[in-house]
Symmetry: C2
Subunit: 643 residues, 2 copies
C-alpha cells in the first residue's frame, strides 16, 4: 500500500481517523497536489498530517484515510485551544510546553486526547489548509483560488471533494451503546462518554433532554391528581398554574448552572472563541476584509438587508398568513365533523370528531417540514458571512413560523371561541400526534431504512459478519453511505414546541406534562439509536451552552405567564368569585400577571448563572493570568529602571 506520508512524519502505526471521499474520476494531478499539501510541513504551509489511499477490491482509489502523529495531534490541540484537566484538578488551556502538568499525560499515552478530539483537530487543520500562490486548483481552471482561501472549502464547493467524515470506532461505539441504551435500567445517561465520543454539542443536547425530562416530573406528578379528580376549585387551580410558572422559571435558571458545571469539566466553558471564518456557502466579489485586512469575498451589508426586508420578511408573512388560512379550514372541518356527529350519532361519528384534529396535526407537521426547507434556502440566499449569523436568522425564521403554526389554533380556540373543552381536546391531539409523528419520522423510519440498506450491502459483500468484525474497507463502505446528522436544531425545536404545549395551556390540560415525560424517555432512546446506528459519525463541536435556545425557552415561559393568567381569569370557578363586577376580575388578573412577571424577572436576576465553586475556579484562573502578566511587567520594569 503506497503512502504519501514519507516526508518526515512517517509513523508505522497509522491510525485512520478521518475519511476523505473525492469525486470519481478526479484528475491525478489534483490528487497529487492535494495530498502533497496535506502531508507538507507546517513551515511550508502544509497541514503535516498523514494520508493513505484506501485500496478496495474494485480499486476506485477515490477514498483516502487521514491520520496524524501523536506529536502533531498534541500541537494541534494547542492550536484549537483545547482545555484539559491538570494534575491539581484545575482546568487549563493545553499547551505543548506545559504538557507534563496535565492529568493522565504521558508521552506514550495515546488516549490523552479522545478520538473525537483528534478528529476535531484534523478537521480544523484540513479546513485551515490555505492557498498560497495558487490561482486555481490544479486540473480545474474553473475552481479559482486566492491567497488565504481554504482549499478544502473550495474543493467541496466545486464537487471535487464529495465528503469528509470521521470514522466510527466500532469497539468504543459498542461499549457506548451498551451503557447508553443497551441495558434495561433507569438511570442517568453516560454523558461524559457521549461527550468523548460525539463531542460537546451533542452531549449537551442529551444533557438538556435528560435534565428537562427530570424537571418535568414534578409538573407531571402534580398534574395527575388534577386530571383524575378534576380538581377545579379556584384555589387549587391557581396554585397549580402558579407552581408551573415559577417552576418553569426555576428550571431554566438552574439549567444554566448545571450547564456551566458540565461544560467547565469538559473544558469548553474556558475555551476561547476562535476567529470565525466566512461560512462555506458565502460568496461575493473579492475585496478587503476590514477586520483581517486580508483579501476575501465581500458582500455589501445593504444588499443583504434589502434581501432580508424585501424578500424574506414578506415571504415569512405570507407563510404565516397561509398557516392561518389552513387553520380556518381546520375549523370548518371541525364544524362539519360536529354537525355530522349531531346528525348520526354512532360510534363511528364520535370517532370522526377526532379526525379533523389528527389531520390538522399531520398537516402542521408537514407544513413545518416544508417551511424548514424554504427557510434554509432563503437564509442561505441572504448570503450571511458567518455561520453564527446564518444560524440565528434561520432559527428566528423557523421559530416564528413553527410557533404560529403549532399554537395559533389553540390561541384561537382559547381566546376567540372560548371553548375550553375543544381546547383540551385539540391540545391533547396535537401534542400526542406530533410526538408520534416525530419519533417515527426522526428515528424509526431512518433506522429501518438503514437496517435494510446494511442487509443489502452485506449480502452484496457476501459476508454476514457482526458489526465489530467488519474489515476497515467494509466499514468505510457502509459508513460513507449513511445519512448525515444535520445538527441538534430539529431536536431542540421539538423540545421547544413540547415546552410550549406543556406550559402555554398547562392549567387547562394538566396531563400534558405526563405525556411530555413519557415522550422524552422514549426520545432519549430513539435519539441515541439515531446517533449510534443511523447517521455517519458527526465531527465534535465544542460549545459552552445551548445558545439561542436558552433565550427561546425563556421567551416561551414569559408568554406562558400571560396565557395562563388569562385562562385562569376565564375559568368559571374564578368568574364565580367576582359575581358583581367583571371589571374587578380583569383588573385582578392583570395585577396578578404583572406581579408574576416581576417575580420571574427578579428570580432570573437573583439566581447566579454559575454555581459558587465554578465562579471561584474561574476567578482563580483569571487571577493567575493577571498575576503572570504582572510578574512579566515587573521584570521588564526592573530591567528598564536599571538602565
Amino acid at each position: 500500500m503506497e503512502t504519501w506520508s514519507f516526508l518526515d512524519t512517517f509513523e508505522s502505526n497509522f491510525r485512520p481517523l478521518v475519511v476523505i471521499e473525492l469525486a470519481k474520476g478526479t484528475k491525478k494531478e489534483t490528487i497529487e497536489w492535494f495530498t502533497e499539501r496535506i502531508v507538507d510541513k507546517k513551515a511550508n504551509g502544509g497541514a503535516q498530517l498523514l494520508i493513505k489511499p484506501l485500496v478496495t477490491e474494485n480499486g476506485d482509489g477515490n477514498i483516502y484515510l487521514v491520520g496524524a502523529s501523536h506529536l502533531r495531534l498534541l500541537l494541534g490541540a494547542e492550536t484549537v485551544g483545547l482545555v484539559k484537566e491538570c494534575t491539581d484538578n484545575s482546568m487549563r488551556s493545553f499547551t505543548y510546553s506545559s504538557r507534563k502538568t496535565f492529568k493522565d499525560f504521558a508521552d506514550d499515552n495515546h488516549n490523552f486526547l479522545t478520538m473525537s478530539e483528534c478528529q476535531y483537530i484534523i478537521k480544523h487543520e484540513l479546513e485551515n489548509l490555505r492557498a498560497k500562490d495558487e490561482k486555481m486548483i490544479p486540473g480545474y481552471p474553473q475552481a479559482k483560488l486566492y491567497p488565504g482561501k481554504s482549499i478544502v472549502r473550495r474543493l467541496l464547493t466545486n464537487g471535487i471533494l464529495v465528503q469528509i467524515f470521521p470514522l466510527h470506532d466500532r469497539e468504543e461505539l459498542k461499549k457506548l451503546r451498551h451503557t447508553w441504551y443497551g441495558q434495561v435500567k433507569i438511570g442517568y445517561q453516560p454523558l461524559d462518554e457521549i461527550r468523548s465520543y460525539f463531542g460537546e454539542t451533542i452531549a449537551l443536547y442529551f444533557g438538556f433532554l435528560e435534565y428537562f425530562t427530570f424537571a418535568l416530573i414534578p409538573m407531571a406528578v402534580i398534574g395527575i391528581p388534577y386530571y383524575v379528580f378534576a380538581w377545579e376549585d379556584y384555589d387549587k387551580y391557581v396554585m397549580f398554574a402558579t407552581f408551573n410558572l415559577l417552576w418553569s422559571t426555576v428550571i431554566l435558571e438552574v439549567w444554566k448552572r448545571i450547564c456551566a458545571v458540565m461544560t467547565y469539566h469538559w473544558g469548553t466553558l474556558l475555551m476561547k472563541r476562535q476567529f470565525e471564518e466566512p461560512r462555506p456557502g458565502f460568496h461575493g466579489v473579492l475585496g478587503i476584509n476590514p477586520v483581517t485586512g486580508r483579501e476575501e469575498p465581500v458582500y455589501s451589508s445593504i444588499k443583504r438587508q434589502l434581501r432580508i426586508y424585501l424578500v424574506s420578511v414578506p415571504f415569512v408573512c405570507l407563510c404565516l398568513y397561509f398557516s392561518l388560512y389552513v387553520m380556518m379550514i381546520y375549523f370548518d372541518l371541525e364544524q362539519w365533523a360536529m354537525d355530522y356527529h349531531e346528525e348520526n350519532k354512532s360510534n363511528f361519528s364520535s370517532l370522526m370528531l377526532f379526525v379533523p384534529s389528527i389531520i390538522y396535526a399531520v398537516v402542521i407537521e408537514f407544513m413545518n417540514r416544508i417551511y424548514r426547507y424554504a427557510a434554509e434556502f432563503l437564509t442561505s440566499w441572504e448570503n450571511h458571512r458567518l455561520e453564527s449569523s446564518y444560524q440565528n436568522h434561520l432559527i428566528l425564521k423557523v421559530l416564528v413560523f413553527n410557533f404560529l403554526n403549532c399554537f395559533a389554533s389553540l390561541f384561537y380556540i382559547a381566546f376567540v371561541l372560548f371553548d375550553m373543552k375543544l381546547l383540551r381536546q385539540s391540545l391533547a391531539t396535537l401534542l400526542i400526534t406530533s410526538q408520534i409523528l416525530n419519533q417515527f419520522a426522526e428515528s424509526l423510519l431512518p433506522y429501518w431504512l438503514q437496517k435494510r440498506h446494511v442487509k443489502k450491502m452485506k449480502k452484496h459483500m457476501h459476508s454476514l459478519k457482526t458489526d465489530t468484525d467488519l474489515s476497515l474497507v467494509e466499514q468505510i463502505n457502509l459508513e460513507k453511505e449513511m445519512g448525515i446528522y444535520l445538527g441538534t436544531f430539529d431536536d431542540y425545536l421539538e423540545l421547544f414546541l413540547q415546552f410550549g404545549y406543556v406550559s402555554l395551556f398547562s392549567c387547562v390540560y394538566p396531563l400534558a406534562a405526563v405525556f411530555a415525560v413519557l415522550n422524552n424517555v422514549t426520545e432519549i432512546y430513539s435519539d441515541a439509536l439515531k446517533m449510534c446506528r443511523v447517521y455517519k459519525r458527526p465531527f465534535a463541536e465544542p460549545t459552552a451552552n445551548i445558545g439561542v435556545w436558552q433565550l427561546a425557552f425563556e421567551t416561551m415561559s414569559v408568554i406562558s405567564v400571560v396565557t395562563n393568567c388569562i385562562l385562569i381569569g376565564m375559568s368559571p370557578q374564578v368568574n364565580a368569585l367576582f359575581p358583581d363586577s367583571k371589571m374587578d376580575l380583569v383588573l385582578t388578573v392583570a395585577f396578578v400577571e404583572h406581579l408574576l412577571l416581576a417575580i420571574k424577572f427578579v428570580m432570573a436576576f437573583v439566581i447566579p448563572d454559575k454555581p459558587r465553586d465554578i465562579q471561584i475556579k474561574l476567578a482563580k484562573l483569571e487571577f493567575e493570568s493577571l498575576e503572570a502578566l504582572k510578574q512579566q511587567q515587573m521584570k521588564l520594569a526592573a530591567e528598564s529602571l536599571k538602565e
Copy 2:
C-alpha cells in the same frame, strides 16, 4: 529642602502630583519607614516613586508630596493597563517596549500621559505597596500587618494617614473652567478635556447628563403644545404617550452606542478589568482566600447573608412603611388645606393649597438624605468584600426607598384617588421643589461655604492674590481643607428620579420634560462649578459604561409603559370611546400595554449596543491577538516537529 528621593530615582524637575497628609505627631520611625518604602526599588517591593516633605511656615512637616520620574510613570501606565491611541489610529494597551508606536509619544514629551492619568498611576502604585515581613507598622504595634496587606490602607484605617489626594493644576483648571462654563454660549461640553482632567467616570456622567438633556428636548418640544392648547383628544393623547415610551427606549439604547464610542476613544472600553482587592472597610479573621491562595481576612458568606436578610431587609421594609405613613399624613394635610380653602376663599387660602405639597417635597428630600446615611451604614456593616458588591447593595437599597418615597404619593393619587387634577399639581410641585432643593443643597450651598472659607483662609495668610498666583504651600493648605467629592452616585440618582417624574406620568403633565430640560441645563453649570471650585480634585476612575444605572433607567422605562397605559385607559376621552363596555376598554388597554412592552424588548434586542465601526475595530483587535498567538504556536510547532 530635604528629599528622600536620592536613591536611584532622583530627578531634578520634581513635579508634585499627589499629596499625602499624615496625622499630626506621627512618630518619626513610622515616617521614615513609610517614605523609605515609597522610594524603594520595585525589585525590593517598593513603589519606586519620588517623595518630598512640604515645608510650611509653621513647619508641621506632616504633609508630603509624591511624584514620579517620567520613565516610572510610563512603566506604571503599562501596569494599570492604560489604553492609548497608536499612530495608525487604533487603540492599544500601552506597553513600554512598544512605546514608539503610540501617537504623540516622544521620550521628552511629558504630556503623553495626562496629569490625571499620572495621578491615577501613583494612587495605584501607593495602594499596591504591600507589607513584606512586617508584623505591624513600625511605632504602632496595634496596627497589625500581614504579608501582602496594603500598607496605605492599613495606615488609613488606623488614622495615621489622614488623606491622599491629587493636586489641582491651577493653570489647566482655569483653562478648563473657561471652556466649560466660563463663556455664555450654547454648545457641547469639552468632554475630552473634562476626561483628561477629572477622569472617565466623571466625564461619562457629564456626557450622560448632556446626552440626556438633548434627548429630552424632543419630548419637551412636543409637550409644550399639549400643555398650552390642552390637546386632550384621544388620538393626540395616545400619540404623545406612545411617542414618549418608544423615545425613552430609543434614547437608552442609543446611549449605549454613544457611550461605547466615547469610551473606545478614551481607551477604557478596551481596558482589562483589574483583579479586585478587598475594599478598605472589609474586616474578618485571617484566612486563605480561595481565589488568590493568599492570606487575607475572610468573612463567612453565610454570616453576611444573615445580616442582609435578618437585619437589612427588615430595616428597609420598616423605612418603606414609615415613608408610606408620612405619605398618609400628607394626604390628611392636603385634605385639611382643601377644607380650609373651601371655608375661607381668599388669595391666602388658595396659596395654602400648595403648602402641603411643598412641605411634603421638602420632607421627602430630607428623608431621602437621612435614609442614605442609614443605608451606607448598614451596607458597610454587611461587610462586603468587594467595593463593587458594596456599591450594588447600596444602590439597590437607596433606589428602592427613593423610588417609593418619591413616587408613592403620585401612584396613590393616580390609581387610588383617581384625581388627575391633584396628580398634575402634586407632580409639578414635587418635581420643581426637588429640583430647586437639589441644586441648592448640592452646589450653591457648598460653593458659598467654600468661598467664605477661602476668604477667611486668605485673610489668615495675609494675601489676597488670585487663584493662579498662589504658592504651592498656599494651594495645598487650601485644597486639603476642601470637601471630598463622594462620586457620581447622587448625581445619577437625581437624574434617575427626574427620569421617573418625566416618564411615569408623562401623559398627565407634558410640561415635566420642559422643566427637566431647564433643570439639566443649569445642573450642568452647577455640577461643573461644584467639580472645579468646591471639592478636592478626585482621583480619576477608568470606566467603560454607567454600570448599574443603565439597568435602573431601563427598569424605570418598563414601569412607565405600565403606568402610562393605565393613565390613558383612565382618561375620560378614552372612556368615551367605549361607552357600552368598560370590559372592552380594560382588555384593549391591557393588549396595547403588552404590545408596547413587546415592541420595547424587540427594539432593545435589535439595536446593536455598539456602532458598526467600533464593532469592526474591536473585532480587528481580537483578530490580531489571536493571530499573534497562532504565529507563536506555529513557531513552536515547527520547532517541536523538527526535533
